[in-house]
Amino acid sequence: MNLIWASILIPVVTAAVIAVANARAARSLAAVGSLASLGALAAFAWQFPAWSTGAVHPEPCGCAWLSSINATLGVGFDSVSLMLALLEAFLIPICVIGSWTAISERQREYYGWFMLLHASILLAFAARDVLLFYVGYEFTLVPLLFIIAIWGGPERRQAAHKLFLYTFLGSLFFLGSILFVGWQHHASTGLWSWDMGTLSTFASARLPANTQYWLFAALLAGFAVKVPLFPVHTWLPLAHNQAPTAGSVILAGTLLKLGTYGIFRLALPMAPEGGAALAVLASVLCTVAVVYAALICWVQTDAKKLVAYSSVSHLGICMLGLFALNPVGAQGSVLYMINHGLSTGALFLLIGMAYERYHVKDMDQIGGLAKRMPVWAFFMVFFTMSSIGLPGLNGFVGEYLCLFGAYIATGDASTGYPGLLGPGFALVAGTGLILGAMYMLLLVGRYVFGPLREPRDDAHAKHGHDGAHAHDGGHDGGHGDLTGREVGLLVPLALVCLFIGVYPKPMLQAIGPVVERTLAPYPAAVERTLKSQPQAAEAVQADSKEDDRG
């Protein structure tokens, strides 16, 4: 237990130390802090007993934080949340070292906020107490707001404001829902409990179907903003486009995963009836997202925006897998969360490195960088292939299982898990496979390969061109290929991608039991929905403002 708290509190302590240390030491302190936190988490993972049982370890402590309603500091991992936490702890040092030369002013604040962001994301993944999860989930907005608003691109402030307000509104739906469930639990059992497990079993068993319907709608609305699902995704491209490199890496790497993890850990278990009823609508949204975002990617000229929209498309497939409501789809979805974090994070890192050299990421003005930077080009192709799901690399396993899950989610319960989707969904989402290849190869074709096109006003010569504060200084030797530091960042990412792609068995074995445990109530719920399908004539508007009238 204390290892978990150690991994969460080390970054907070580092942030405090950075606040008082001098500016130059800030980044090394941040690197040490993040590596220490990774070490603590890895130590915990090493002796984590419940890898194959899917149980939660350790049992949440009774240390109440608000005793009158028994809100405890319950912290514990199961294999899925531990893997996501490890992904997070793995990405943060890469971000810190990645922005070694990119961030040249107000460094103390930058790394301070980064450590706080790291701590709150870890808290969110580690939390077993719903209120604690809300605290971790919500606090991530503040550091992200500052990281984008202060060190971002030209229109950074509008993008940061929109991100903050949009996600804040979403999270209020989520807050309303969990308070509602907590109240219902107390009202009917007389006991106070905010533990995820107890609340889920209570809500799925005792809440009437109609309430579960609204509860799932509210939870989905809350997390859809974060994932982002189709209609509420417009903040993501702006945020990515304006965020500094490390900000984009973390935003794509793990922040979006908070939304998907939230749906996986809270929305699905708590409201199976609602989940079964709304799975079709949510899947339609996801499928539309896949094709919609992929087409938009295809016509983007800004590299970062392209990758940002690709995240919307990829996460559409990821969520489709989850809403297939069978172990194959859910397994693929969880794997996809991790893989997307790695490959898209790496892509943003690479685009950031090129941006550091040319200060341009618009593919009309720049291209064919393979000539200038072959090593960079290799990694670009490697991670592009990983993100479009080339077998042998990590993207394939996740994407493939998601589509597979969606495909077999038909009415007949041969797999023991009847589903509401079917071949139609898999086919349309499958075109995402093709569109994915089209826009990623467009990116590689113009940005990496093709004739060398460098921006006319050679950024190297003219410093301090970009808006209020310059990104000048620091970036090493104009347009040389990747430095040792940069390669040192990319190699571990590449190795992990390769490892997951080649030998995903341990991860599959670890995720399996958790998935089965989460989807336990679903076969029955789906049966009921299928039976009631003909009478449920009108498709009730999905997300309501909140969720009472229970």
């Binding site: 194959v328 589509l403 597979f404 023991g416 390969f449």
Partner: protein
Amino acid sequence: MIAAPAMLSSVLALAQGPLDAQAAPELRWAGLALLLPLVSGVLCLLCGWLKVRSKLPAALTIAALGGAFATILRLQGVVGETPVVINLFDWISWTWGDGSRFHGFTANVDLYVDRLTVFWMLFVTGLGTLIALYASEYMESDVGKGYTRFFGAVSIFLFAMGCLVMGGNLVMLYLGWEGVGLASYLLIGYYFTKPEAVAAAKKAFIVNRIGDLGLALALFLTWQCYGTVEYAALWKAIEAAPASSEWTAQAIPWLLMLGAFGKSAQLPLYVWLPDAMEGPTPVSALIHAATMVTAGVYLIARMFPLFIVNPDALAAVAWVGGLTALLAATIGMAQYDMKRIWAYSTISQLGYMFLGLGVGTTFGASYHVFTHAFFKALLFLTAGAVMHGFAGQLDIRKLSGLLKVPGFRLVSLLAVLGCFWLAAFPFTAAFFSKDEILVSAFTAKDERVHVLGWIGLVVAALTAYYTFRVGFRVFFGPVKYEPGDEHHGHDDHDHAHGGHDANASHGGHAQHGQHAQHGHHGEFHPHGPRWAIRVPLVLIAVGAILAGWPSYRTMLDHDAPNWVKTQVAQSSAYQGAPAGDHATHGGHDAVSHDAAHADHADDAHADHEHLVLGMDAHTAVGRLGSLACIAGILVSLYLHLINRGAADALRRALMGSIATRWIVVGAERKWMVDEFYDWVIRLPLRLVANILSAIDELLLDAGIVNGLGALPAAVGRIFRPLYGGVVQGYAVTMAGGVALVAAWVIWIWLRGAN
């Protein structure tokens, strides 16, 4: 459709269905065939990393491929009739629920080695080694720059092809499928500074991806119907429940076909292969002629039990193969770039193979794959040698009489030999393999495919014509040539035009004297290839000749079984006997020596019912085929050697009258298929994408989101006048508020009270 299951069960009972494989852990060394190319790929990556300037990557790759070839040879000896499953390591496997039939998914990295696999890997690794040797010299001008990347990609290709062919389940096949797609992407886009090469690479990958989607969906459907994707288990599952008539089970062959046509460049998805010629010629030879494009044929051969279930699917395969052959042949006739012509001829020959599969003779198709691999590789490599020597010149109108050009005599001779094989000249290996296909076409039980036999013969004639059109124009006639414009970049920009690498200067001096009298091409001296190109060419030529050996042996001594037939028979493709062929026979266990004999004999006997022009099928096809070939050759002899002007005259004549204009224009413009796709799919999609992007930016983001964001402020402005600043104003609203509330309360509640 109802007849199909009945027919199938009879066939399965009679014909020796796919044998159940047993695990053979002791054969784990077979994994070397995959491991070696992978190791050499990684080593090439390392060389690239260390900026190695020598030809080491080539040596590594050749050694690895040679090793792989040796492994396959040893495997050939070891593997008997029954296929073996070798598990290398677990990949994707987990179970849920009680782990019963539909409650788990396993797709491990294991090899399913039977005769068909070995047969296929033989020519893949064999040709791979030779072409790698050829490429070591061909690419030497890029030693410092792209050499490691080239050979790295070739190694990755061979690894992926190995996974595809030797893979033990459909997911391994899928891994290989996309792996070869990646390798072909990297190799087509090798000259990445050229936009056309990058565009061609992208096009190839995307069109393949469309096929891959079909394959993926087929895979899902297979698991859904049979509960497994492992070959061994799949055959048992098919035998147990041949196929539920419900549409999903029937759809598997159609989806598999989509995947196969994508990879093997058949009718709907063939457009990427001609553009793939942008890559260096060894790539075109190895990948886009001999090995990768046969993946589709292998897929259908391997999954034949699924196809047998659905005769309509088989007919469709045949028809698509036939039509593609015809279409590609017509286009091939009107092209001027030698590599493009060979590319279209490859598509055409692949059409033949699919025709063979469609009519049920997996043996004929596989045999044609075997022979075609050799002579097409030969043709491409000779074209490469010509291009290498003539500074990228490939236009058949600008080259003539190469046989007499010093240094190119051997290359030209081998090229002409290749032409004979391609044209399926009587008693060449291709003649026998094509003969098998056409015979089966005529004798197929399914009447619908008979007409394809005739189409096949017509295409044979066309093939002969365009092959020798190139042969006569380029290698015969007066010696006349113009240097290319370093077209294919292999004499790189730093390698001055006609510049002198070691070989050229040496050759140049010696030949300078004789060229004086030609004079018209100034100081340019073509330099013939050195040993590293000549040796592989000779070996491949010998291979092409020997490819026919199994048929020669059967011809001479009737009872000798055709080696290829035995290979194919003892595999899941089991001799691909069309249902009719086998129906008349007793049990057919392991195809022993006598059975083959009986088989051969009964062929003749069976044909009596299917008379073609009064003769039995074999003799008829033999005669008609050779007739078509010779006719084609004579026509091209007249038009392209004796009276070259006549060809142009004929063209002008055809162009003259409206009725025939479309033929010439169509053929030369590749029947506008590319433009058609562009207009019907790409541009509308682009338009939709732009609209969606605008919607996302303006409507969704600026409109709705910002609109909602500004809503509170807008409502605020409505209430603004209330805060006018005057005390009385506030007092009025306050008093008014109180009065309103009091009135409301009285009106609603108190009216009823007391």
